[in-house]
């Protein structure tokens, strides 16, 4: 027989102003099963908790109901109090008589009546509660960072500095990411490589960091604290342990017509290459689609010249499997494809380029050695027109509805750098709005306009076309309310940025949720911005939303702090409110496993006694309580009603329904 205690909170006047708390507590005294009922000003206070603890001990309570604020607020508090008094913490139910009652109703009689029903409902439920024990699972003291851009690098360094092992999985041949492609960075105009490459070197030299470049995550099993991840190490056809990065192979390779991805395809590279001079690891990779030896079987020049015998045309993809406690996703971004934007003539005109291409053209390590020459004829462009919001803030369906956030600033940077280096150049910028929130950002933009004389034109561009070898940019000038056509030598498009497409696969593997724009969703937009709703998965950089370098680095460090906080624990408590099958009723049909989003359900063969000494072996469902998140999808799917959810059992919910409906 249950011995229930009821505790009605006043919450100062928050509840007591509209609910007659004394009356509610009085009514509860005569409820069947209730042996104790009290009211108090603040149940969550030290004294209130003391009252609860005392009553549990004195009256030998087997379950308690607190009529108070939302369980989302203080359920944990009351569970702790119960536990301290020797009562199982899951024998506590909270009736929400504040948010769902006193705060929304004005009539005292009406609110009191509702409060009585809500408390009765909680009593009905708690009578069917069973003591639950939170399980424990060990924590693998190693973190995985997916993506080796500045976000991944920063997160890895911070985690490794705290003393934990970190693996960086990078799909490209080198870490560095987008930031490595940039020339200068706003608003300080530091050279991007000068601030990034030392961090890349730090990663390579850190004894706790293992860089798995040219690798991809293939399979993820497990859960927070205990992820088991299979990583594909793609064949680079070069032995990473032998290659010294001497680049002799690059010189000798006869197949030099591959598009240089690092330079956005603005020049070519050999079939065997190191993406850029400061690449980490500084190890060559062979592009098998371009390599003559691999296509025709004849050549092998690189192998002949390689002094250390690092070339291996027969290399195959290999796999490694490691255990991780936490995973940071930092997969980054790419500029959108401009196929849907014919009006800008990007495909037809060589001199219509994207901002990232301009970045390479202005970079000292780029295809032109840092001299700004236009791609069509290698001439100095005299008039350069920038077009903002190409595909950003676009609700037409061609582009992205969001603001890409970084374009206003990098365009101001480009304009400023060009005017500084080539003062004879005229620079025009078509913009919808200039958005410069950030420390020293607006000052930076104003410098572009006021000191460097960049011509900003408010208005959108309708068309870019070629007329007698000149690019004509036709747009509107909304300030002067007129149509303008600007003759230009070079047109630069601030293409919107989108999450790197591979994030979709990563999100699926991790069961991390993703929004309509393919950005990973954070657990709470304001209060848990670096955590994915999937426990143990953290988000850094543009994979979570458009952001610039300072923001990315902050987010990466925040991720690292969260990861460190997780990895210092030896064991994690698991949620005991998980699904559990009644093996006698289960017929092993697999429907529950099909709806489980977490893969928590497997099947085992079990021996059942049939009576008369006979036994039978049947296949029945088995739930891994450490993987189950407790949603209950399987409980409803189960055709035989064998599956139930602890803490939210069918009987419990039925009893709640009954208590509410009883007239």
């Amino acid at each position: 027989m249950q011995r229930i205690g009821v505790f009605i909170c006043w919450c100062g006047s928050n509840i007591s102003a509209t609910v007659d708390v004394v009356k509610v507590a009085e009514i509860m005294k005569s409820e069947p099963g209730v042996v104790y009922s009290a009211n108090y000003q603040y149940m969550c206070s030290e004294n209130g908790q003391q009252l609860i603890k005392q009553a549990i001990k004195e009256h030998n309570l087997t379950g308690i109901v607190i009529g108070s604020c939302s369980p989302r607020m203080h359920e944990a508090t009351f569970r702790k109090a119960a536990e301290a008094a020797g009562l199982n913490p899951y024998m506590v139910e909270v009736a929400n008589i504040r948010e769902h009652c006193s705060w929304i109703h004005k009539d005292m009689d009406e609110a009191t009546e509702k409060a009585v029903i809500l408390v009765r409902t909680a009593i009905a439920k708690v009578k069917l509660n069973a003591p639950l024990m939170a399980g424990e699972s060990p924590v693998a003291k190693r973190a995985l960072v997916i993506g080796g851009g500045i976000a991944g690098i920063q997160a890895a360094l911070d985690i490794a500095d705290a003393g934990f092992e970190v693996d960086i999985v990078e799909k490209n041949a080198t870490i560095g990411g987008r930031m490595a492609q940039l020339d200068k960075t706003f608003p300080t105009l530091d050279c991007s490589a000068c601030i990034l490459t030392p961090k890349m070197v730090d990663c390579a030299q850190h004894e706790k960091i293992d860089i798995l470049s040219y690798s991809e995550v293939e399979e993820v099993k497990g859960f927070v604290g205990n992820f088991s991840v299979k990583i594909r190490r793609k064949a680079r056809f070069v032995d990473e342990t032998k290659c010294t990065g001497c680049k002799l192979c690059m010189e000798k390779c006869p197949s030099k017509k591959g598009l240089n991805e690092f330079n956005m395809g603005l020049n070519t590279r050999p079939a065997i290459y190191i993406p850029f001079a400061q690449a980490i690891p500084n190890v060559a990779v062979i592009d098998p689609t371009q390599c003559i030896k691999m296509k025709t079987g004849k050549c092998g020049i690189c192998q002949k010249f390689c002094g250390v015998g690092a070339i291996d045309y027969e290399q195959k993809d290999s796999f490694i499997e490691r255990q991780y406690g936490a995973i940071v996703v930092a997969t980054g971004f790419k500029p959108i494809e401009l196929t849907a934007f014919n009006e800008y003539g990007y495909e037809e005109n060589k001199d219509v380029i994207t901002s990232l291409e301009l970045e390479r053209l202005m970079n000292a390590a780029g295809p032109t050695g840092g001299v700004l020459l236009r791609p069509s004829d290698n001439e100095h462009p005299k008039i350069i027109t920038f077009i903002q919001c190409v595909g950003s803030r676009d609700t037409s369906g061609c582009g992205k509805p969001y603001c890409s956030k970084i374009c206003c600033m990098y365009t101001a940077k480009h304009a400023m750098l060009i005017r500084e280096k080539y003062p004879d150049t005229q620079v025009n910028v078509f913009y919808i709005d200039v958005r410069t929130p950030g420390k020293n950002y607006d000052e930076f933009f104003r410098r572009a306009v006021e000191q460097y004389g960049v011509n900003y034109i408010k208005g959108m561009v309708g068309k870019v076309y070629n007329e007698n070898g000149k690019l004509m940019v036709q747009g509107s000038n909304l300030i002067d309310n007129e149509q303008v056509t600007i003759e230009s030598d070079l047109v630069v498009l601030a293409a919107a940025i989108e999450p790197e497409p591979s994030v979709r696969k990563v999100a699926t593997l991790l069961t991390a949720s993703i929004d309509t724009n393919n950005f990973l969703t954070e657990s709470h937009a304001k209060l848990r911005p670096v955590e994915s709703p999937t426990a143990g998965v953290y988000l850094a950089g543009v994979c979570q939303g458009p952001k610039d370098i300072p923001e990315t680095v902050s987010q990466a460090s925040a991720c690292a702090a969260k990861v460190i906080g997780l990895l210092v624990k030896d064991k994690l408590k698991t949620n005991p409110c998980v699904a559990t099958p009644d093996e006698n009723m289960c017929n092993g049909c697999s429907q529950c496993a099909n709806v489980c989003a977490y893969g928590a359900i497997t099947y085992v063969d079990k021996e059942f006694r049939l009576g008369g000494g006979k036994t039978e072996i049947r296949r029945v469902a088995s739930v891994n309580p450490a993987v189950c998140q407790g949603c209950g999808a399987c409980t409803v799917t189960c055709p035989s009603g064998a599956m139930d959810l602890k803490g939210f059992s069918s009987k419990q919910i039925m009893s709640e329904v009954e208590a509410i409906c009883k007239k």
């Binding site: 769902h100 949720s513 709806v595 209950g632 999808a633 409906c661 009883k662």
Partner: protein, 151 residues
Amino acid sequence: MQEVSTEKKEFVPNIVAFCCNWCSYAGADLAGSSRLSYPANVKIIRVPCSCRVNPTFVLKAFQQGADGVILCGCHPGDCHYVTGNYYTRRRMALLFSFLNYMGIEKERTRVEWVSAAEGARFSAVMNDFVKTVTALGENKRLTDLRVKEGE
């Protein structure tokens, strides 16, 4: 007609609302902390996910005298458990059309998506639902089907 309408005014429907813990229950909390009122005859049952609601819970509610049942979950694509609300949507579409066939008007049952940030929406949805169910009048219990009444 006149008499009927005065009778209806006195009628207060009993509404059972199943709210998922992550979005809609939090949305209801937000409605509370924003003091956005809705009628007191709406009583909320907390479930981990809208997909935890077994059709038998809904049947039980009507059997026990509820006049309307509403399920609230996270918006499609935002489910805390990835895909739970999609199951809810399909299951309840089936159940509600079946209930409609049995004489429990489809207006008495509803699935709504309310996020944790949508306190105002929660309140608006509840006000609207209570209004709709009030207009329909008392629910004929499952044990008291219309077929019987027609005899």
